[in-house]
C-alpha cells in the first residue's frame, strides 16, 4: 500500500505556525488584560495606602501641634493676667496650683528666670530655686526668641517632658517664664498609633533625635529618618510639593511637619505588611492567569491537534484523489492507444478479407474439383477469422471511445450486454460461464455511459480474476426493486471474500492481487462513481461459496429504457 507523504519540511513549519498562532492568539489578549489590571490595581492600592498613612500622620501631628499651642497659650494667658505679681514665690505657686487644678498635672512646674539665667522663682515638685541655666541650651534658645518650646527630654519619673518658655517684661526687666510640661499622655498617643502589626509612629527633631519612643528605635534610625525627612525641611521655592509619603528600604514612611517645622511626625510600616493586600490580590491574579493559561494551552493544543489532523486527512484524501486522477489518466491513455491500434489493424484485416473474397471470386470461375473445394474452404476460413478480428476491434473501440461524461439516460441492460461481450473471450478462457437475466422494461438511469461501463467492467474483471484458477459461474441480473430503484446483481462462485478484507475493499490502494496486477483503485473508483450518481453499492460474500455485488441506481423519472447509449 503506497501512500504519498507530504513533504515533511513544509508540514512541520505549517504545524508549528498553527500551534503558535492559536496559543498566541489565546494567551496574549488575556495576558494583556491581566497585566493592565495588575498595574491599575497596584496604582490604586498604593494611592489608598499612602493616603491613609498620610492621614494618620497628619491627624496625629495636628493633635500634637494643638497641644503645644494650648500649653503655650496657657502660660501666655497666665503671664498676661498676672504680670508683675508673678515675681513672688507664693504667687507663682498659687498660679501653678490653679492651673493644675484645672488641667491636671500637665503643667509640672513653673519658674521665672532672669536675663542672666538664674531662676529666682520656682514653683513645683523639685527644688530648682536659684539654679543657673546660663549655660543651658534651652536658655540660649529662649533668650533669643520670644517663645520657645524645647525638645523632649526625660524628666521626673523618667517621663517625657518639654519646656515652654516665654519672654516677658516684668518691672521693666526681661524675664523668662518657663514651665515644664508633661508630654507623657501625648507621647503615649503617638506611641499607641498602630498600623497593622509593624506600623508605628514617632516624632523626631531635625537632628534626628527621637522625641517619642526612643527606646523602640535603633539609635541610627533617627538620623536616617532625619535624612529622609530632609526633603520636607528644604522648603526652597523651586522644589515642588515634596512627597510626604514614600518608600525607602522596605518601609513605607508618611511624614508630617509640626512645631513650626522643627519636628517631624513619622508614621512607618513595613512594606511587606502594608502591601500585603495588594500582594494577595496580585497573587490571586497570577494564579488565575496561570490556571486560565493552562486551560487555554490545553484547549489550544487540542484545537491545533484537531486542525492538523484534519489537514493530514485532507492531504491524504488529496493524495488519493491525485492517484485516482493519474490512474484514470493512464487508463484513458491506454484506451486511446488501444483505439489507435484497433484502427490500424482494421485496414490490413479489411484487405485480408477482401483478398480472401477475391480468391473465392476467382475460384468461382474455375471448374469444381477437390483442390478448388479445399482452397475455397481455406479462403472462407480466412474471412471468418478476419471477421473475428473485426469483432474484437469493434468491441475494443466501442469501449475505448472518448469518455463521454455527459449525463444522459442510459439503458443499463445494453451496457451490461456490451461489457459481457467485451469480456466474453476472457471469461471463456478462465472457464467462467456467464449468464444474464435482464429484466425487460427496465427504466433508464441518469448516468454517464462511459462511467457505468467502467463500473461494470471493473466488477466483471474482478469476478473473472477471482475464478481464474478453477472456473465458475457469473450471473448477471437486473430488476426493478421494491424501492423503485434499478438493481444490478453480479453473483460469482469464486472463493469469496473474508470478513476483514471485506471491510476494506473500497479503500483506495487496497488490493489482494499480487504486485503489478492491480492498482487497488478499481473498487474505490467504482464506489465513487456510484455514490456520485446517487446510487449505492453493496457486497455480500461467503468464503468458499462466492461473492455477490449489488448496485442500486436511481431511475430516470418517467422513462423506460430509451436507447441512447454511446
Amino acid at each position: 500500500m503506497e501512500k504519498s507523504r507530504p513533504e515533511p519540511g513544509r508540514r512541520t513549519a505549517l504545524n508549528r505556525a498553527i500551534y503558535m498562532a492559536i496559543l498566541v492568539a489565546s494567551i496574549l489578549p488575556m495576558g494583556i488584560i491581566l497585566g493592565v489590571m495588575q498595574v491599575h490595581l497596584e496604582t490604586a492600592y498604593r494611592e489608598v495606602l499612602f493616603r491613609s498613612l498620610q492621614e494618620i500622620a497628619d491627624r496625629h501631628s495636628q493633635k500634637v501641634d494643638d497641644f503645644l499651642r494650648e500649653r503655650l497659650t496657657g502660660v501666655r494667658v497666665l503671664a498676661d493676667l498676672q504680670h508683675d505679681r508673678l515675681l513672688d514665690q507664693g504667687a507663682l505657686s498659687a498660679q501653678l496650683g490653679r492651673l493644675q487644678s484645672i488641667l491636671g498635672g500637665v503643667y509640672v512646674d513653673m519658674g521665672l528666670v532672669d536675663a542672666k539665667g538664674i531662676q529666682h522663682y520656682y514653683a513645683g515638685p523639685l527644688h530648682l530655686e536659684n539654679i543657673d541655666y546660663a549655660d543651658k541650651e534651652w536658655f540660649r534658645h529662649a533668650s533669643a526668641r520670644d517663645v520657645f518650646i524645647s525638645d523632649v527630654f526625660l524628666g521626673v519619673r523618667n517621663s517625657p517632658h518639654f519646656i515652654v518658655a516665654l519672654k516677658i517684661m516684668l518691672r521693666g526687666e526681661p524675664w523668662i517664664l518657663r514651665s515644664t510640661i508633661d508630654f507623657a499622655s501625648f507621647v503615649r498617643l503617638v506611641e499607641d498609633v498602630r498600623v497593622g502589626t509593624t506600623g508605628m509612629a514617632s516624632i523626631i527633631n531635625r537632628k534626628g533625635e527621637f522625641q517619642t519612643a526612643a527606646d523602640r528605635h535603633h539609635p541610627n534610625e533617627g538620623p536616617e529618618l532625619a535624612a529622609l525627612a530632609r526633603r520636607l525641611f528644604d522648603t526652597t521655592q523651586d522644589v515642588p510639593r515634596p512627597e510626604r509619603v514614600f518608600l525607602a528600604d522596605d518601609t513605607v514612611y508618611a511624614m508630617s511637619l509640626l512645631k513650626g517645622g522643627e519636628w517631624v511626625l513619622v508614621v512607618q510600616q513595613d512594606k511587606a505588611e502594608a502591601f500585603r493586600g495588594l500582594d494577595d490580590a496580585q497573587q490571586t491574579l497570577r494564579i488565575l492567569l496561570a490556571v486560565i493559561s493552562v486551560g487555554v494551552l490545553v484547549g489550544g493544543v487540542l484545537l491545533a491537534w484537531r486542525i492538523i489532523d484534519r489537514i493530514d486527512l485532507m492531504e491524504m484524501e488529496k493524495a488519493v484523489l491525485n492517484s485516482q486522477v493519474v490512474e484514470a489518466g493512464k487508463l484513458s491513455a491506454l484506451g486511446e492507444m488501444a483505439a489507435g491500434i484497433a484502427h490500424e489493424i482494421n485496414n490490413p484485416v479489411a484487405i485480408m478479407m477482401e483478398e480472401a473474397g477475391w480468391v473465392e471470386d476467382v475460384l468461382a470461375d474455375m471448374p469444381p474439383d477437390g483442390n478448388r473445394t479445399e482452397i475455397a474452404r481455406s479462403a472462407a476460413q480466412i474471412r471468418t477469422q478476419g471477421k473475428r478480428c473485426r469483432d474484437i476491434t469493434h468491441k475494443l473501440l466501442s469501449f475505448a471511445r472518448k469518455a463521454d461524461t455527459e449525463m444522459t439516460a442510459v439503458d443499463v441492460n445494453a451496457v451490461l450486454r456490451e461489457m459481457v461481450a467485451l469480456c466474453g473471450q476472457r471469461a471463456h478462457t478462465a472457464n467462467v460461464a456467464v449468464s444474464m437475466e435482464l429484466a425487460e422494461d427496465l427504466p433508464a438511469v441518469v448516468a454517464s455511459p462511459s462511467e457505468l461501463q467502467q463500473v461494470f467492467l471493473n466488477l466483471f474483471n474482478n469476478a473473472i480474476d477471482a475464478m481464474e484458477g478453477h472456473g465458475g459461474a457469473l450471473r448477471v441480473g437486473t430488476r426493478l426493486n421494491r424501492d423503485g430503484e434499478v438493481a444490478v446483481t453480479l453473483a460469482d462462485t469464486g472463493p469469496g471474500i473474508p470478513e476483514p478484507v471485506l471491510q476494506r475493499i473500497y479503500d483506495p490502494f487496497f488490493t489482494t492481487k499480487p504486485v503489478g496486477k492491480g492498482t487497488g483503485l478499481g473498487l474505490s473508483i467504482c464506489y465513487g462513481i456510484i455514490k456520485r450518481l446517487g446510487g449505492s453499492i453493496r457486497v455480500d460474500s461467503m468464503v468458499g461459496v462466492g461473492t455477490t455485488f449489488e448496485v442500486h441506481l436511481q431511475p430516470h423519472e418517467g422513462t423506460t429504457a430509451s436507447m441512447r447509449h454511446d
Binding site: 482494421n346 483478398e355 466501442s398
Partner: protein, 149 residues
C-alpha cells in the same frame, strides 16, 4: 460467373482510400461484378478523376492520412452533386455516420465490410438514389457466412 446485365453500361465507381492494397483487391472484386472502377489514393487524385470522368458513385474511406474524408465528401458534393457518395467508416460510431449523412453522403458502411453489402449499397444509390439499408439502424456489418456461388 460475372454479374452483369448485358443491356447495362458498366457502372462507374470511384474508390478513394489511402491503402493501396485495399484499393487493389476491392477494385478487382467490383470489376468482376461488373463495375467500372477508378481508384484514387488521395484527395488530389480523386478530384482529378472526378474532373475527368462522370462517375455513377463514389466510395470514400473517412479515415485517410492526408485528407479528411469529410472534407473530400464536401468537395464531391460541391463538384458533382448528382453523384452519390458512400462513406466507409472504421469504428461504428453513430456520430460519424450522422455527420456524413448530414454532409450529404448517400449511405455509409462499416469497414471492413462484406462485398455483397457494398454491391447492394452501390446498386441502391446509383439506380434509385435511395439510401443504403444500413442507414436505418446503427451500422453493423452483417457478418456471417462467406458468399457462396
Amino acid at each position: 460467373m460475372t454479374e452483369q446485365t448485358p443491356t447495362q453500361q458498366p457502372r462507374k465507381v470511384l474508390l478513394v482510400d489511402d491503402e493501396t492494397g485495399f484499393l487493389g483487391v476491392l477494385s478487382r472484386r467490383l470489376q468482376r461484378r461488373g463495375f467500372d472502377v477508378t481508384t484514387a489514393e488521395n484527395g488530389a487524385e480523386a478530384l482529378r478523376a472526378l474532373r475527368g470522368t462522370f462517375m455513377d458513385a463514389a466510395v470514400v474511406d473517412l479515415k485517410m492520412h492526408d485528407m479528411d474524408g469529410f472534407e473530400l465528401l464536401r468537395v464531391c458534393r460541391r463538384m458533382a452533386p448528382e453523384m452519390p457518395v458512400i462513406i466507409l467508416t472504421g469504428h461504428g460510431s453513430a456520430a460519424e455516420a450522422e455527420e456524413g449523412m448530414r454532409l450529404g453522403a448517400a449511405g455509409y458502411l462499416l469497414k471492413p465490410c462484406e462485398l455483397d453489402d457494398l454491391v447492394r449499397c452501390l446498386s441502391a444509390v446509383i439506380t434509385g438514389n435511395q439510401g443504403c439499408s444500413p442507414l436505418a439502424a446503427p451500422p453493423t456489418c452483417t457478418g456471417g457466412t462467406a458468399p457462396t456461388e
